[in-house]
Each structure stands twice: as structure tokens, then as C-alpha cells.
Amino acid sequence: MKRIFFSVFALATLLAGALAFGQGQAPGAMTVQVGKAQIWQAPSVVAPVLASLAYKDRVLVLGSGEGWAKVQVPGSTKVGYMFMSALTQRPLSSSAAEAAVPGITASEIALAGKGFNDSVEESFRKSTHIDYAFVDAMEAYAFPPDEAAGFLSGACGGGRP
């Protein structure tokens, strides 16, 4: 009986998946899809930074063009500009911590609810003994966009982060 139920469930999942494909966000509202996103006063990385947003934060988009989104700064009446590539209309799944389902382990929730994440990476590292030290080291080199832009023009540069 349980096999039959799982078969029905699998079919229903496929059907629901097909129907769910294409569901979008409310017009104007978009989700931040990068770890840290900045809102600048003008559409330039050398403009003053008005605010910083985190992954999955929501923001009201007022317009877009040439790779920039004109947005309303959350919790303010100010208007600023973000990279359009920092935003998405599609929903991002909830985090493991948010999926509080009793009776199963955190790792199970993390896997099923979020796909590949730091928990899975930890397990992957243990099982394969792959060394991430060099990856972590290269990620330490992260420069603010205005500094990177200044380096291209020769206006600034040098020194370790």
C-alpha cells in the first residue's frame, strides 16, 4: 500500500512540478540572489553606497536598464541602483533553519530543503578528503567594487586585502 502511495506521490510531484514551473513573483518585487548586494546612489560602483542587502532579501524594483535596477531602499523612501544580476524574480528555497520539521535531523532537512549547501560540502570533504584550503585562500581576495574599478583606471591599487 505504501508503495502505491509513493507511486501516486511521485506522479503527483511530477504534475505539480510542471504546473509550478513558471510561477513568478509579484510585479515589482524581486529577491536578492547574491550573498551581499549593494544599493548605490547612482548607477555606478563609484557612487556612494546607500544600503547593503543579503541573500533572499526582497526589494521593490521601480525600473531597469543597461544592467541596472532602480530600486526603493528597503525601510526608506530613498531610491537607489543595484546590479540587475543581483536580483531574481524566481523564488529561492527556504533555508534549513527555516524548515523546522520535527522528527528528522538537521542534515536531512538541509539536504531536502536546500540542495547542495555547507552541510553537504562538509560531508563531501570528509568522504573525498579533497582539500579546500586553496579555494578558501583565493576567496580571501575580495575587493569592494569601487576599489576594483579604481584599479582598472590606475586610480588605486596595491596592498593585500
Binding site: S44, L92, S93, G113, F116, A149
Partner: protein, 342 residues
């Protein structure tokens, strides 16, 4: 011949009730996980499933919702980290902090002018201690270039061209597109559905399955390379990045002309992972780079840039200090200083 177990009336009723519930859930615009969560509750109350199995179904529903959507940027990042770590398992890192600093400032500056300037954890660059001429880009924005490639670049424009080509692969999503990224989400879904059948955690099994997908992607990036179409797309995007960043777009063709053709190298390398330089040059000639005209690239809602800034006016670098003569000398000097480390 295997016979299907006979339906018992209560169970048949339960299945019909669940299917009816499914139809109601879907028609009421619930999300897939909400729909399946509701189904799990109904199955529990109908006595079809026990508490644990119903719970696992809710978890599987979330995974199924994940599988129905694309890979998230966060997942792409973790895939990229694993691929980069796999590359470091094959090649030694070339640890020169000054060179890493230079390469990351240059590369991160170039990425600002790509079609995808913002990615989950940003673009990062490192050098591999190998005489082989090669460069790799993982989906998460980890870009690795060999000392062999650095030795062939004749100036900062050409170095920028090499980095811009790899940035383009990331920006255009070529990594996951090469292995049908949906498959990775499917692994999560498969795991959760399997977990629904058993009563134990399968984290190790899942990471092993994921490891297979990583190995497949690393194999493509390391040994067979992206498709010719992706390589040519990356060349086109690289020229646009160079132009918007204030570098010479023709530096890409100059660099390609210096790259090894098949047969010049043994044991894989650039010739194995990239199309023949001549075919890339022909493709670039066939589609000459044309600087975008101001005011014709979409709706503008901010002041038009000054004519003097036309090369970067519509880019993320608008407003950055621009003194062409000074910039030329600064770039030449710092490249000469770094060259000793290549």
C-alpha cells in the same frame, strides 16, 4: 508474473481522497511544497503513512519544489567550490600573494563590466603552478590560470583578455549548462524521495551522488573543455568586457594568436580544452566587435554619460577616474613589475 497487491477499500478511499486533495491544492495556486505538505497531512490522518513517513514526505515535497526550479546561485557557488577544489587536486597552487592581489583586483574589476557583474560570492582568481597553457572557470566564479598561460601574455590588455574570456564562461552560465544543471537538483529530489522509503539519514549517500556530478563537471572543465559554441560565445562576451573596462578588445585576438594549436602540446592543456586558435580568430573576424552606441542599449533613466566617458559611460564604471595617458602608464608599469613573477 508479479501481481499487484489487491486494493483494500479504505486504502483506495485514501488514495482517491489524496488525489482529490491534490487537485484542490493545485487549483488553489498553492506552491508545490505547500500542496505536498497538505497531502502528507491527509495521508497521515487517513492512516496510510506513519508520522515519520509523513514528515519525510513534507521534506521530499520541499526537495521536489527545488527540483522543479533551477539551481540557486547559492548551490551554484557550492558546486563551483567543489569543482575548484578538484582542480587544485590536479594542479599545484602558485602561491605568490602579490600576484594573487594583482590578478584579483584586475579580474574583479573586469567582472564589473560583464553581463553578470554580481554573483553569489563574487569572482576570485588564482594561479596554477604549471607550464601548461590553460585556464579554467568553475560555475561559482573561481577562475584559475596557469603560469604557462601567463608566460604568453604580452601586456595587461592580453592578460585582461584571458581573464575576461574565463569571466564570460561564468557570466554566461556555461559550467552548469554543460552538465544539465537540473540533474544536480534532481539528485536532491531523488535523495528525499528515497529517504521517505527508509527511516535513516542518507547524507553520506547524497554527498557521494553529488560527488559524481562534481567529477563529471570537473572532467569537462579539466579535460574536454566547453563546447565550441560556448567558447565562441565567451570570446564575444570577453571583447565586450574589455571594451567596457577601457581595454583594447583586439587584445583577445592578439592573445589567441599566441596560443598553442593542437599538436603543439602534449598531455592535454589548452589545445584539448579549447577550439583551434585559427577557428576562434576566424569567428572573431566574421563578427567584428562594434562598440554599442550610446542611448541605444535600453531604457535610460539616469543622465547620459559625458562623451569623454563614452567607452565606459553605460557601464558599472561610469564616473570612475579616467585619464587615458596616466592609465596607460600605470597599467604598463604594474604589468612589468608582475611579469617577473609569471
Amino acid at each position: 508474473m508479479q501481481r499487484f497487491p489487491a486494493f483494500r477499500a479504505p486504502h483506495l478511499f485514501a488514495i482517491l481522497a489524496i488525489l482529490a486533495g491534490l487537485c484542490l491544492c493545485l487549483s488553489s495556486c498553492l506552491t508545490i511544497d505547500e500542496s505536498m505538505g497538505s497531502l502528507a497531512s491527509q495521508a497521515l490522518s487517513a492512516g496510510v503513512l506513519d508520522q515519520y513517513q509523513a514528515t519525510m514526505l513534507r521534506v521530499a515535497a520541499q526537495a521536489a519544489a527545488d527540483a522543479a526550479r533551477q539551481i540557486t546561485p547559492e548551490e551554484e557557488y557550492y558546486v563551483g567550490r567543489a569543482v575548484a577544489a578538484s582542480i587544485f587536486a590536479v594542479y599545484k597552487s602558485y602561491d605568490r600573494p602579490e600576484l594573487a592581489d594583482y590578478l584579483n583586483r584586475l579580474g574583479q574589476g573586469l567582472a564589473l563590466s560583464s553581463s553578470r557583474p554580481a554573483i553569489y560570492a563574487g569572482y576570485h582568481f588564482a594561479v596554477l603552478d604549471s607550464p601548461e597553457v590553460n585556464a579554467f572557470a568553475s560555475p561559482g566564479g573561481h577562475i584559475l590560470v596557469t603560469r604557462g598561460l601567463l608566460a604568453r601574455v604580452g601586456g595587461e590588455d592580453e592578460l585582461a583578455a584571458a581573464l575576461a574570456h574565463e569571466i564570460a564562461h561564468v557570466a554566461l552560465g556555461h559550467g552548469l549548462a554543460s552538465v544539465q544543471g537540473m540533474r544536480i537538483a534532481q539528485i536532491a529530489s531523488d535523495y528525499a524521495i528515497e529517504a521517505g522509503k527508509s527511516s535513516g539519514g542518507e547524507l553520506e549517500a547524497f554527498s557521494s551522488a553529488f560527488g559524481s556530478a562534481i567529477a563529471e563537471l570537473a572532467k569537462i572543465i579539466l579535460f574536454s573543455g566547453y563546447s565550441q559554441n560556448f567558447e565562441l560565445q565567451a570570446d564575444q562576451e570577453a571583447r565586450a568586457i574589455l571594451y567596457r573596462s577601457g581595454y583594447d578588445p583586439n587584445a583577445l585576438a592578439r592573445l589567441i594568436a599566441k596560443l598553442p594549436a593542437r599538436g603543439e602540446e602534449s598531455g592535454g592543456g589548452f589545445a584539448a580544452t579549447h577550439p583551434a586558435p585559427l577557428s576562434r580568430l576566424e569567428a572573431l573576424r566574421a563578427a567584428p566587435f562594434e562598440p554599442p552606441a550610446l542611448g541605444t542599449r535600453g531604457k535610460r533613466f539616469w543622465p547620459a554619460p559625458r562623451a569623454a566617458e563614452s567607452a565606459v559611460g553605460a557601464s558599472a564604471l561610469a564616473g570612475a577616474e579616467r585619464d587615458p595617458v596616466r592609465t596607460f602608464y600605470v597599467r604598463a608599469e604594474r604589468f612589468a613589475a608582475m611579469r617577473a613573477l609569471f
